[in-house]
C-alpha cells in the first residue's frame, strides 16, 4: 500500500462513519415523527369523541389559542416576563452559590457553623417561602426573583463545595512545598477544580428556576407563563393552559441545550470530560 492510498483510506473511513450516523439519525427522526403523528391523532380522536372542550381541547383548538395569543402579543409578553425573572434570579443565584460554595469549601469553621442552616434550607421547597416572602417584599418582581435565587443558590453552592473536595492531594502538597500563598492555591487549584461542578450545579438550577417561576407566577402575577396557566383556569379555557405548557417545554428544552452548548464552547478548558 502506498502512502497516498493509506491517506485515501484514512479519509474514506470518516465518510462511511458519517453515512452510518446519518442513516441512524434519519431512522430515529422518522420513527419520532411517526409516533408524533400517531400521538396527535389519538389526542384528536379522544378530544372529538369525548367532545367536552372544557376538559380536553382538541389540537386545532390549541393551535387556534396559540395563534390568538401570539397575534395579540400577550404570549410574547408573558414569555419575556418569565424569562426575565428566570435569568435575573439565576444570575444572582449562580454567582452567590459559587461564592457561598467557595466560602464553605475554604473554611472548616464557616462550614461547621453554617451546616445546620444549609441542610435545613436544602429540603425546604422554594414555594414554602412564598407566603413569608410576600409578607416581606410584597407582590412585586422582587419576591419572584428572590424565590428563584433561593432555588438556585444551594444547588450551586453544594456542587461547588463537592468540587473543592475533589482537588488532587498531591497537587496541593506540591503547591505548598513550592511556597505558594493561600491566594495562589485558591486560584490555581481550588477554583479550576470547583468550576465543572459549579457548572453542573448551575444547569440543575436552571431547571429548578423554570419550575419555581411557574408556581410563583401562578400564585400572584399578572404577566408570565404561570399567570397564563391560572388565567386559563379561571376563564375556563384549557387551550390557553396547553399553549403555556407547550411554550414552557420548548423553552426549557432550548435553555438546557443552549446552556450545554455554551459551556462546551466557552468554558471548554475547565471541563475535564471534553478533553
Amino acid at each position: 500500500m502506498t502512502a497516498t492510498e493509506a491517506i485515501a483510506r484514512q479519509q474514506a473511513l470518516p465518510e462511511t462513519v458519517r453515512r452510518v450516523r446519518l442513516r441512524k439519525a434519519l431512522t430515529g427522526t422518522v420513527r419520532f415523527l411517526i409516533s408524533l403523528a400517531v400521538l396527535i391523532g389519538i389526542w384528536w380522536v379522544f378530544a372529538v369523541v369525548r367532545n367536552v372542550p372544557l376538559l380536553m381541547p382538541s389540537p386545532p383548538e390549541v393551535m387556534h389559542a396559540f395563534g390568538t395569543l401570539l397575534g395579540s402579543g400577550a404570549l410574547v409578553e408573558d414569555t419575556l416576563a418569565s424569562l426575565g425573572r428566570i435569568l435575573s434570579g439565576l444570575a444572582i443565584g449562580a454567582v452567590g452559590g459559587v461564592l457561598l460554595g467557595l466560602l464553605l469549601g475554604s473554611s472548616r469553621i464557616v462550614r461547621g457553623l453554617l451546616t445546620p442552616l444549609v441542610t435545613l434550607f436544602r429540603f425546604v421547597p422554594p414555594l414554602a417561602w412564598y407566603a413569608p416572602v410576600l409578607a416581606w417584599l410584597g407582590t412585586g418582581e422582587e419576591s419572584k426573583i428572590v424565590l428563584i435565587v433561593y432555588t438556585s443558590i444551594f444547588v450551586v453552592a453544594i456542587n461547588t463545595l463537592s468540587g473543592m473536595g475533589e482537588t488532587p492531594v498531591n497537587a496541593r502538597r506540591m503547591l505548598r512545598m513550592s511556597g505558594s500563598s493561600w491566594a495562589q492555591r485558591f486560584f490555581l487549584l481550588d477554583l479550576p477544580h470547583a468550576l465543572p461542578y459549579a457548572i453542573t450545579g448551575i444547569r440543575i438550577a436552571l431547571g429548578n428556576a423554570f419550575m419555581t417561576v411557574v408556581t410563583a407566577e401562578m400564585l400572584g402575577s399578572k404577566v408570565g407563563l404561570g399567570a397564563l396557566i391560572t388565567n386559563g383556569m379561571t376563564t375556563l379555557s384549557l387551550p390557553k393552559v396547553f399553549v403555556a405548557i407547550l411554550v414552557l417545554g420548548v423553552l426549557g428544552l432550548i435553555a438546557d441545550r443552549l446552556f450545554v452548548w455554551a459551556t462546551n464552547r466557552f468554558l471548554r478548558r475547565f471541563l475535564p470530560w471534553t478533553r
Partner: protein
C-alpha cells in the same frame, strides 16, 4: 491520650454553635423589628410547631402531605423505572420515547396542576399526579444512564452463556444500574417534596403547602415558619432514611459502601 480531642468534637460542636447563633440572631432581629407579621417571635413559632403535631385539625394536614408525597413518589418511581428500561434497552422504543422524555422533562411539573385538577379532581389526586410526574424524570434518566454503563464484557459473557435478552436485563443490566437508580431515587425525594408543596398551594384545600399559604390570609406568620421548619425537618429525615436504606438493604449495589 486525649479522648475528647478538638478534631473529634469539631463536627458536632460547630453545627450546634451555628444553630444557636442563628436562633439567637433571629430572636434579636425579631424583637428589634417587633412586628409579629414580618418576623414572628421565637415563642410564637414554638407554639405553632407544637400545634402542628398536637392539634388534630392541623396534624391531619401534615399527614395528608406525607401520604401524597409517598404515593406520588412510589408511583412515579415505578413509571420512571419502566420508561428508563424501555429507552435504555435501545431499539425503536428509544427513538420514540426519548424526544418526549426530554420535552416533558422541560415542562415544570407544577404547570400540569390545572389540567390534572380538571381531569382527576382538585386536591389529593391532582397533587399526587404532579408529584409523580416530577419523580418520573430523575428516576428514568438515571435508569437510562445506569443501563448504558453496564460493562460490555459482562453482557457478552452472559450472552455466550446462553442468557436471553430478558435474563440479561434482569440479571446483568439492572444490578449494574442499581447505583444509578439509587441516585435517581434520592434526587426524586427533593422533587416530590417541592412539587407536592407547590401543588398544595395552588390546587388543594389541605396539606402543609395549603397550611403555609393559608396562614398568609390569617396573618399567622408564626404558623408559616413552623410549617417551613417541619418541611425542612421532614425532607432531611427522608434523605437520612434513604441513606440508611442505601447502607443496609441496598448495600451490595453501592460501590462506596464496601
Amino acid at each position: 491520650m486525649r479522648v475528647l480531642s478538638w478534631t473529634r468534637l469539631e463536627p458536632v460542636v460547630l453545627p450546634i454553635i451555628g444553630a444557636l447563633l442563628v436562633i439567637g440572631l433571629y430572636g434579636l432581629l425579631a424583637s428589634s423589628v417587633a412586628n409579629p407579621l414580618v418576623l414572628p417571635p421565637l415563642g410564637q413559632i414554638g407554639d405553632r410547631l407544637v400545634a402542628i403535631f398536637v392539634d388534630p385539625t392541623i396534624s391531619v394536614q401534615f399527614l395528608d402531605t406525607l401520604m401524597r408525597i409517598a404515593v406520588g413518589y412510589v408511583g412515579g418511581g415505578l413509571i420512571g423505572v419502566v420508561i428508563g428500561i424501555a429507552v435504555g434497552s435501545g431499539g425503536w422504543a428509544r427513538d420514540v420515547v426519548s424526544p418526549y422524555l426530554s420535552f416533558f422533562r422541560s415542562v415544570a411539573p407544577i404547570a400540569w396542576v390545572i389540567p390534572a385538577a380538571i381531569w382527576f379532581g382538585v386536591g389529593t389526586p391532582a397533587t399526587i399526579f404532579v408529584a409523580g410526574y416530577a419523580v418520573v424524570f430523575p428516576v428514568a434518566i438515571n435508569t437510562i444512564a445506569g443501563l448504558a454503563s453496564t460493562p460490555v464484557n459482562r453482557m457478552r459473557m452472559a450472552a455466550s452463556a446462553g442468557a436471553g435478552r430478558l435474563a440479561r436485563l434482569v440479571r446483568i443490566q439492572l444490578p449494574s444500574a442499581a447505583p444509578y437508580l439509587l441516585t435517581g431515587f434520592r434526587q426524586a425525594i427533593a422533587y416530590a417534596f417541592m412539587t407536592t408543596v407547590g401543588a398544595e398551594m395552588v390546587a388543594a384545600t389541605s396539606g402543609l403547602g395549603f397550611l403555609i399559604y393559608d396562614a398568609r390570609v390569617l396573618f399567622d406568620t408564626g404558623l408559616m415558619f413552623a410549617g417551613i421548619l417541619v418541611l425542612g425537618a421532614l425532607g432531611y429525615l427522608a434523605d437520612l432514611g434513604f441513606l440508611g436504606l442505601r447502607r443496609t438493604v441496598f448495600r451490595r449495589f453501592v460501590g462506596d459502601a464496601r
